[in-house]
Symmetry: C2
Subunit: 189 residues, 2 copies
Amino acid sequence: MARWQPDASGRLQEAALELYGERGFESTTVAEIAERAGLTKRTFFRYFADKREVLFHGSERLAETFATAIAAAPASAAPLDAAIAALDAAAPYFEERRAFATRRQQIIAASPELRERELIKLAKLAEVVADALRARGVGEPAATLTAEAAITVFRVTFGRWVDPANRKSFERLVRDSVADLRAVTAVAR
Amino acid sequence: MARWQPDASGRLQEAALELYGERGFESTTVAEIAERAGLTKRTFFRYFADKREVLFHGSERLAETFATAIAAAPASAAPLDAAIAALDAAAPYFEERRAFATRRQQIIAASPELRERELIKLAKLAEVVADALRARGVGEPAATLTAEAAITVFRVTFGRWVDPANRKSFERLVRDSVADLRAVTAVAR
């Protein structure tokens, strides 16, 4: 058994992931998800606005984790280091559900509608990071540039981490990706 | 008179921008845009798939400009310099229509639906840049990180350039924004 004990919301997420994997996101209905989970449509809508949102359930919690970590970073931390601390803070959340995250990512990659949804969620996360940096006194455009850089590192890290061949931890891959970003933005000699 | 001479497509864009500015994007219909331009709905749909696309008409041309510029950058250019050459190549296109671009940006900022559409267009541009970099032999994750960094610079540059108080050229602001990105990603001492 997975460590993650599914309650009603978790059962619905698991059922959705199964069905999206089996027949595709577009051809799955909310009624089918509820049925697979042994619950009603009404219960589904108590937790999720629609069949897309069932895949993005963690994004508000993630945004809170990011904002809290940035606020808690030492006052002396450079803006990018404070933003990267947000990714480190989220690492345990991801490590707890790598199998789920991997299947979820495959489903999102297969659907243009879900890829668009994910872009929007990532843009919202970038806004949360930029807001948290501005609250630390970081000005513009540094706050926006740093937040976008951190979210790019997040995306790249995530892609590397869910790769079936990957054996590195999420946190280790954050380090690697930050180093890679610094290499591509360094002034050429 | 503006230097930009409106043909049917240009007249529709101008009419759309006027109407979106006057009554908002959501409350404007294609029929009203066509009427304001002195054209038919049928003509509208010959040029644009829907009332959103009228604001994103230039994005394919922009993608082509980006791809061509990256392919033409000297073989010795670092990946980020090649990607930034794409922004420089697009500068004349923007400079020709600053007033239009400024009004367009205000309309997009006011509509969540249009902001989402813009995110998707920018993500597609980032893919074009990453593809063009990979075609130069840039590996992963460097190609993705560089492309995302360049598109972030593009967004930040664009925002500074359309600011009513701005007096700097698009190209000059690209330089400034790249320098700012390098400052935030530089390793702290």
